[in-house]
């Protein structure tokens, strides 16, 4: 679960809410005080860490220096990493674009059946945490996996191509991110007016010409924005290259920063900071480009999406359906099952026969290793607290942002988006730098306890809640509030009796998104965890690094089961939300 749902939410939410009719004179003083406090908090939590990171990369023993950058540029390893990062990001973006656009076109324009089931199947690749998807693929294509067995059976010399390579990373990353392109493109394609296409066809243009002259130019801004989204997600991704690249010495920028900090400790902070500034700059430029493109494609925002099929597949329908479903099963269910079968083995080097099957690995992680339980507990507590804090603060801020938009809270919203825009590893490093010694000479011991994770999670995921709440406040007309006030309801009454019942369902959907994202988080926690504060993702990662693949796959399989439960809950909440919505409005 990464960066993109929100962008879609915010993109829908970029319309202005109507200002309420009344004046707010009585609350002027309070709101000014609130604004000051809020502004200070935003500066401390969101702006200062980034400044500190940038400053550190220019700080030497005596005053300002470019030495860290000079040293960085002279290292062979740095250039190799840059090359790898480029190949991986470019390759997986391209792969995701091709796959995503093709599927979006089929779902948007053709009369293929069971579109909603297909939609769910596609989203599955994205909802699974990247490290679970990675483990599935590495166990599926590994020398002990199903694919190797199948190839051996065909011909003894055949062996699967190794996932632990540039190609493997590109492939898994592409599969993980193509649903983003798909979601983005689906909407763009549905909003292209079909009468333009008809007019062109009537004027004698061929199908190809119609596509080239009408469909493509209209779709391009949206498609490019989708491509940039994947580009940013690939740049941010840490799990896939850490699991597949590190063992064979392939580093990308995010894993290089991690290795420097984890392997060398504080002596590498300045090196890590200069790498982070570089990576962060690329991410920020990408986000800006994306934002500009989205503003361009807003023109079509007023269009109603057109859901009826435009092309009949005819005799092609059956085979195409068959191909798509087989493909989807192959990229999700089959690797997942392979991972589950791996977690049932007695020893890694053994074939999968009945005699070698055991539940020992599960017994070990559930009953013999307290740290696994603790990590599950930590992750649950972290995600719940993050969700609740974000619900309260995020929704409060969103309310002010929608009802009284001004340049001040617009800036604040931009600032809260920074931790999420930056790659996770960069953000985590900036958090370490700030909270290790918040004021020189004062060490409150935040680093090395759960507190630093709470701070990091809340700062990083707050924007998800803000955007989701902004969307829900936009949909609520301010007349509701005015009616409540005119009828004499006070602040508390107004919220509890009128606003919350109407808004809670959609706010909770945002909350669930925060919860699920936080539950399986790896990047930030990998850099910030310590003894007793490890999260689920970190535990799986540690098992895998130590060569305990049987345990990492067992824990991953458990997480998949947990997420399935969570997903069903989410669906129920959404159904309940939509029912409420229908009843009230």
């Amino acid at each position: 679960m990464e960066k993109s749902k929100t962008n879609i939410i915010s993109w829908q939410a970029a319309r202005k809410g109507r200002k309420p009719f009344s004046a707010w004179l009585g609350q002027l003083r309070w709101s000014r005080l609130g604004a000051l406090l809020g502004g200070a908090a935003v500066l401390v939590f969101f702006v200062y860490p980034i400044l500190k990171l940038i400053l550190l990369s220019f700080q030497g023993e005596h005053g300002w220096t470019l030495a860290h950058y000079g040293e960085m540029l002279q290292q062979e390893r740095f250039w190799t990493t840059i090359r790898n990062t480029f190949y991986i990001v470019a390759g997986s973006t391209l792969f995701a674009l091709v796959l995503g656009i093709a599927l979006a076109w089929i779902v948007a324009y053709t009369d293929i059946r069971n579109k909603s089931a297909l939609h769910m199947g596609i989203m599955l690749c994205f909802i699974l945490p990247s490290y679970v998807l990675t483990l599935s693929w590495s166990s599926f294509t590994g020398s002990q996996g199903w694919l190797a067995g199948l190839l051996q059976w065909i011909h003894p010399d055949l062996a699967p191509w190794s996932m632990y390579s540039l190609g493997g990373i590109i492939f898994v990353m592409g599969i993980h991110h193509f649903p983003l392109v798909y979601m983005f493109t689906l909407d763009v394609l549905r909003k292209i007016p079909r009468d333009l296409e008809w007019a062109a066809r009537a004027g004698g243009a061929s199908r190809l010409e119609v596509f080239r002259k009408i469909t493509l130019p209209l779709a391009l801004p949206g498609l490019t924005a989708g491509g940039l989204l994947v580009f940013l997600a690939s740049l941010d991704n840490f799990g896939i290259p850490a699991f597949l690249g590190t063992p064979v010495n392939i580093s990308v920028l995010s894993t290089l920063i991690y290795e420097e900090i984890i392997g060398f400790g504080p002596s590498a902070f300045a090196r890590g900071a200069s790498l982070s500034v570089l990576l962060g700059t690329v991410a920020v430029v990408g986000s800006l480009l994306q934002w500009i493109l989205l503003r361009k494609s807003h023109a079509s925002d007023t269009m109603q999406p057109d859901l009826t099929p435009r092309y009949a597949l005819g005799r092609m329908r059956k085979p195409l359906t068959w191909v798509i479903w087989t493909g989807l099963l192959l990229i999700t269910v089959v690797p997942l099952s392979s991972m589950i079968s791996m977690s049932l083995k007695r020893a890694y080097g053994l074939g999968l026969t009945r005699a070698n099957m055991t539940l020992d690995n599960y017994r070990y992680i559930l009953f013999e290793n307290e740290r696994v339980w603790q990590s599950i507990q930590n992750s649950l507590v972290l995600s719940l607290v993050t969700m609740l804090v974000c619900l309260v603060i995020g929704s409060g801020f969103a309310y002010v942002r929608v009802r009284k938009p001004n340049s001040f809270n617009k800036m604040a919203e931009l600032a809260t988006a920074v931790p999420y825009t930056l790659p996770g590893i960069v953000f985590a490093l900036s958090i370490i730098l700030v909270w290790m010694e918040p004021i020189p000479g004062w060490n409150p011991g935040i680093y090395g306890s759960m507190s630093i994770l709470f701070i990091a999670y809340i700062c990083r995921f707050l924007i998800l809640q803000i955007r989701s709440s902004v969307t829900s406040f936009m949909q609520l007309d301010s007349s509701m509030e005015e009616a409540a006030r005119i009828s004499g309801a006070g602040f508390w009454r107004k919220w509890s009796a009128v606003l919350l019942p109407l808004l809670l369902p959609s706010m909770l959907t945002g909350g669930m998104l925060v919860f699920l994202t936080a539950l399986t988080e790896l990047t930030v926690s990998a850099l910030l965890y310590s003894s007793g504060s490890q999260t689920i993702g970190v535990t799986i990662f540690s098992f895998e690094q130590a060569g305990d693949t049987l345990y990492s796959t067992a824990l991953s399989s458990l997480i998949v089961a947990l997420m399935a439960v969570g997903g069903i809950l989410l669906l129920l909440v959404q159904r309940w939300a939509s029912r409420k919505g229908v009843k009230k409005s």
Binding site: R77, I262, R346, N369
Partner: protein
Amino acid sequence: MIPFKKSLLLPVLAGMIIFSGCSTQGQGASETNNVNAGASTVSGKLSFYTSQPEEDATKLISAFNDQYPDVDVSVFRSGTEEVTAKIQAERQAGKTQADVLLLADAVTFENLKQEDLLLSYKSPELSKIPADLVDPDGMYAGTKVMATVLATNTQKVASPPTSWNVLTGADSKDASIMPSPLYSGAAAYNIGVFSRTDGFGWDFLQQTKDNGISVIKGNGAVMKAVASGEKSYGVVVDYLVAREKAKGSPVELTYPEEGVPIITEPVGIMKDAGNVPAAEAFVDFLLSEEGQQLSAEIGYSPIREGISPPEGLKSVSEMKILSGDPVKLAADREADKQQFIQVFGE
């Protein structure tokens, strides 16, 4: 459908948090249990930083808790080099969290000793431990003997090699694997020893690199690659091979004739340990007859006299040892790591 009571939602969530929050975030306060007669007087929290495999650390702690039930041990596990970096980071943040360290090699402890991070403790059990495997100032003491050996996949290779030179031969072209000194303390020690041993040196390491040796993070990962047949030969600590072989994997271990580097996985207590009595009890337990017996059961070669090594492993006296001076190696560790990046870094 039953109407869902929204009013219940928040209290229930809050309740869940309070409930689980209490159990996870006890603030390091030692809970004074009512000590019944005969129970140990050692209690409270003990923070244990180690590079041991997860399973072994778990077994060690549960055996320790059989004797000292009132000590609540929390573990932080990673590669030796990462644990050391973590301690440095915590130090910068104001306070090291660790009480007891159990890391791969004496060199790591030598560095910590020079930074004045360790507490001197001479356990009564030391009388049974070889004096040259213990720090004379009592800052750290070896707890076991681990040789780095050659692991071979028996499905890929008919007769296991008897010399380190197999790693530079045509047989092992692109088919061998070793742990990274940037992560594993054992590997960092091995690089230090090999690069200073006559007949090997950096030239030998360069040749293995040219021969396509893979470098993976830890010893566990090396073992996995050899067991699964992804690689034919692995440079790995001995006990992992013996253990994997016992599980039924197709692997064999050999002690090369030129000799083997050994590490002793020393234990030490941090200077600003929050719970010194528990830390001392822990060290005593590790070195005691019972603790050493447990080590042997888990599959390590014990360090204490009079306890025989597990099936398939040699004892210290049977090995030909390639050794290095820990003080010298400690001074050069960082330089060795950088040199390794030069030679092996892509």
